[in-house]
Symmetry: C2
Subunit: 244 residues, 2 copies
């Protein structure tokens, strides 16, 4: 798959132009940032999904003060998160909003979505569920997904984008042939119980907010001020997560 | 310090009865759960704080739909988080609320506060800032605190309580003589950049929500349903974070 083939291939799969462009941007951006597991390898993978419905569109299904609920309605999770980010960018919440999405899978590189929000001036914290891949540190069957936590911080020198999978490797890396399936354990070596606990807590949090299937949990906040730590790191010339 | 001496000592330091009881419960609970760095060693440590004001009381300073802002007003962070939990337990938010607290330090074992909320039926995600202790993985001065992330999940068989510090050891452990200062690095060994990134992202998130000083960031959500993963783990007999 070459970069220039991504958009035509997505159109060929039956996606409408807005969806094809969003998907292409996510895959190309991921590939370019070295997140190859979320990159071009995923385009052909889409075609293998048994229940791919390229015409499905996500929708906001409930809205209360400080809270929104979305439903993928059969669309790819990428498209549900894209619709949420687009809606938040158009009407930025103040001071804060919690957004949950059901039927939201796959969600790709979570950093992509929080970067979008951070560049629109919003603090964002995002996690999402996925199939169980990580066994408990003391052994047993896979119990939790790699359950990444992504945090986006607006900054005038470029958004700070943290995107940490709780796995030693990602499933995307396995899919792209960059890692072995047996490397899919919680990261941290002799402290892998910490990453496993984070994955479990985040996964249980999402599951408790959405009935059935995979989901996403997002918090967005209008910043009150800048981060002293980010400023200090820039002064010290320290490379921050999300920097090119 | 013996358990029976904690409450009298706190009264002696000048705390009102409600505050002394809350502090004693936090310290005794932490000690009992093996979190000795947040336990009895902290009682005498309180007396050494140069600006300890035992009469200070935290207050809610702003409230909007889905959002609250609190200010420690010179009180210990434990007391600010206690006042927040007590207020949320009394009037549980629905569907969700983001709460930020300024002048909120020290915050103790974050698991204690999310357990309180989970036992009151609320999903909770909590983080807090503290002095820089962890250097970047590639070297440099300490840039971020141990910045724990705590997640509480209500469950009929006992709340699931995740409380993960991003440090290989906690500062409390160093204070209690259980670890050496040079062990205060991000956890994860050759993947410590992941825990460091999480600490940085969480710290920048809190800092961006509160002007000046240390702060806390809390999200509470009324659960929509139970967690399948927690249920599955219980069925498999897997010990979950927070289990005794």
């Amino acid at each position: 798959m070459q970069p220039e083939d991504v958009l035509p291939r997505l159109r060929e799969l039956g996606f409408a132009e807005d969806h094809a462009e969003l998907l292409a941007d996510h895959f190309l951006d991921s590939e370019q940032r070295g997140k190859r597991g979320h990159g071009l390898a995923r385009v052909d993978w889409l075609a293998t999904l048994p229940d791919l419905d390229p015409t499905a569109r996500p929708a906001k299904t409930a809205e209360y003060a400080g809270f929104e609920q979305w439903d993928g309605r059969g669309a790819l999770g990428y498209l549900t998160l894209g619709a949420i980010c687009s809606s938040l960018e158009e009407k930025p919440p103040w001071p804060a909003r919690v957004i949950v999405a059901r039927d939201c899978f796959p969600t790709g590189a979570l950093g992509y979505w929080v970067r979008w929000l951070a560049e629109a001036g919003l603090l964002a914290l995002l996690t999402a569920t996925s199939p169980p891949r990580l066994p408990p540190p003391n052994g047993g069957p896979p119990l939790v997904g790699t359950t990444p936590l992504a945090i986006g911080i607006p900054d005038e020198n470029g958004a700070v984008v943290v995107d940490v999978s709780m796995g030693k490797v990602t499933y995307g890396d396995v899919l792209a042939g960059l890692a072995k399936p047996e490397e899919l354990v919680a990261f941290g070596g002799d402290q892998s119980h910490k990453a496993f606990a984070l994955a479990l807590g985040l996964q249980a949090l999402v599951e408790s907010c959405v009935v059935g299937g995979f989901g996403a949990f997002l918090v967005v906040v209008a910043p009150e001020t800048g981060s002293e730590t980010v400023e200090r790191a820039r002064d010290l010339g320290i490379r921050l997560p999300g920097d090119r």
